[in-house]
C-alpha cells in the first residue's frame, strides 16, 4: 500500500440552485492525518462524497495522486467509513471482512491481509461468527474498520465514523484509529464536529464555514502523540480553531 495525496481545486457544488460548497481548495499530503471540522450542514459530508467520487462536482476538480477519484476507487485504494457501519445483517463478522476482498477482486492490493488476522487487530477475533445485529455500535464500527483494512486502502475517508457512539467508546476507537494510521500510514481525511477529537488525532485541522461551504482556515497541530487535552499547547490550538469557527459565525450572521 502506497499512500496517495488528495488535491481539491476550486471545487463548487450545487444542489439544484443551492450552493453546498463554494471554491474549496484543499491539499492533503501523502500519509497525512487531516481533520475537517465545521457545524452540521456545512458541506463536510458532501465534500467527502465528491472525493470518493460517489457523485461528480458541479465545478472544479479532485485529484487523488494526480488522477480522478474513479481511478483510485477502481484500484480499491479508498477506504470509506461513515456514521452507519453499513454492515450486511445476513453475514457474519468474518464474512463482512471477506466481502470487502471479494468485491472487485481483480484490484485487490498485493498486501491484503487475512480477514481473521484483521479481526484480531481490531479486537474482534472472538466474534468472527457473530452477526452484526448482535453486536454493539462500537463493535459494528470495529467491523467496518477491519473492512477498511481488508482492502489495504491508501486513503481513509472517515465521515464521523464514531459520532453515533458514546463518548468513552468513541475516544477508545479514535485512539485505535490513530494507532492503525501510524502502523499502516495511509492518508486520512477525518470529518468531525468534535474539536478535541480533531486536535487529538490530526496533523492539521481545516475549518469549513457553512452556507455555502468554504474553507475558513486551518490550524496545524505540531504536537507529538499521545496528546494531552489539558496541556497549554493543546488549549492554544483549541482557541485558534474556535476563533476560526467564531469568525465564520459572525461572517454568516
Amino acid at each position: 500500500m502506497k499512500a496517495l495525496d488528495i488535491r481539491v481545486d476550486a471545487l463548487s457544488h450545487f444542489y439544484g440552485r443551492f450552493p453546498a460548497l463554494q471554491n474549496v481548495h484543499l491539499h492533503i499530503n501523502c500519509g497525512e492525518f487531516v481533520s475537517l471540522v465545521g457545524v452540521s450542514g456545512c458541506g463536510k459530508s458532501t465534500l467527502m462524497r465528491l472525493i470518493v467520487g460517489l457523485q461528480p462536482p458541479t465545478q472544479g476538480s479532485i485529484w487523488l495522486n494526480g488522477q480522478p477519484p474513479a481511478v483510485a476507487r477502481a484500484a480499491k485504494q479508498i477506504g470509506w467509513m461513515a456514521q452507519q457501519a453499513a454492515l450486511l445483517p445476513w453475514r457474519t463478522v468474518l464474512e463482512q471482512v471477506q466481502l470487502a476482498q471479494k468485491i472487485n477482486p481483480q484490484n485487490n492490493s498485493t498486501a491484503v491481509a487475512h480477514p481473521q488476522d484483521l479481526l484480531k487487530i481490531v479486537g474482534l477475533n472472538d466474534f468472527a461468527q457473530a452477526y452484526p445485529l448482535t453486536l454493539s455500535g462500537g463493535m459494528q464500527q470495529r467491523v467496518a474498520l477491519a473492512r477498511t483494512l481488508a482492502i489495504g486502502a491508501a486513503v481513509w475517508l472517515m465521515d464521523e465514523p464514531f459520532a453515533a457512539l458514546d463518548e468513552l467508546t468513541r475516544e477508545a476507537l479514535a485512539a485505535e484509529v490513530l494507532q492503525l494510521w501510524q502502523q499502516f500510514q495511509p492518508t486520512v481525511l477525518w470529518i468531525t464536529h468534535n474539536l478535541h477529537e480533531a486536535i487529538r488525532l490530526s496533523d492539521r485541522v481545516i475549518v469549513l464555514t457553512p452556507r455555502p461551504g468554504t474553507v475558513a482556515g486551518e490550524v496545524g497541530v505540531p504536537l507529538s502523540h499521545p496528546r494531552d487535552d489539558t496541556s497549554g499547547e493543546f488549549q492554544v490550538i483549541l482557541r485558534q480553531v474556535r476563533a476560526l469557527l467564531r469568525w465564520e459565525k459572525n461572517d454568516g450572521a
Binding site: 460517489l54 480499491k76 468485491i103
Partner: protein, 268 residues
Amino acid sequence: MVREKIAPMRIWAQLCTICRPAQNWSGAGLVAAVLALWEIAARLADIPSYLFPTPMVVFRYLFAHLGDLLLAGGVTLLEAVAGLLLGTAAGVTLAILILFWQQAEQGVMSLAILIKSTPVIAIAPILTIWLGFGPGPKVIVTALLTFFPVLINALTGFRTVEDALLDWLRSLNATPREIFLHARWPGARPFLFAALRTVGPLALIGAVVAEWMGASSGLGRVMWLAYTSLNMPALFAAVFILTALSTAVYQTIVWLEKRALFWVYPSN
C-alpha cells in the same frame, strides 16, 4: 421515567412466557369454538342440511369420502404450488428486468396492471378452451394471480437498500451485478416473503376458480359437482379441505421465512 416505561414491558414479557403454550393452541381453539357455535346455532335454528349443514354432517361426509377428497386436494395443491412458483419466478424476473433496465418500468408495469385487473373468471374459461381440462390452465391462472404482489414487493425490496451500504459498495467500485448479489437480493428477501404470505393462500383460490371453469379433477371440480347437485355437505367438505391446505401452505411459507431470514428472527 425509564423504569416506569420498562416495568409494564417486563410484566408483558413474563405473561407471554407463561402463556406461550396457550398461544400456540389459541388458533386451533378459536377454530373449534367457531365450529361449536356453528353446530349449536344450526341445530337450534333447525336449518336443513341441504341449505346449511352443521359441522358434524360435513365431517361425517368428509371422513366417508376422505380418499377422494384428499386426492382432489392433492391435485389442487400441486396446481397451486406450480402456479405459485411460476408466478413468483415471473414476478422476480420482471422486477430484476425493471431494476437493471429502468426504461422498461413503464411498459412492464402497464402490462402487469392490465393483467392484474383482468378478472380471473374471464381468463380461466378461455384458457380451458385453449388448453383443455388438464392442470395447464390452472397453473397459468394461479401464476397470473400471484405474480403481481411478488413483482411489486421484489422491486420495492431491491430498491430499499440502506444508503450507507450502497455508498460503501460503490466506494469499492462494486458493479451493479455485485451490488445486486450482495445487497439488493438478500435485502429484498423479507419483502419477498411478505409477498409469499399474501399469495400463498391466494394461489389455492386461483387453482380452485380455474378448476370450477372445467376440470377433470381437483377440489374446484368437487365443489362444482356438489354445487350443481345441491350436495351441501360435499361442498363444505371440499371447503374444509381447501382451508386446511391454505393454512398448511401459509405455515410452510412462515417456516421457510424463519429459516431464510435468520437475522430478522434471531431467536430461531
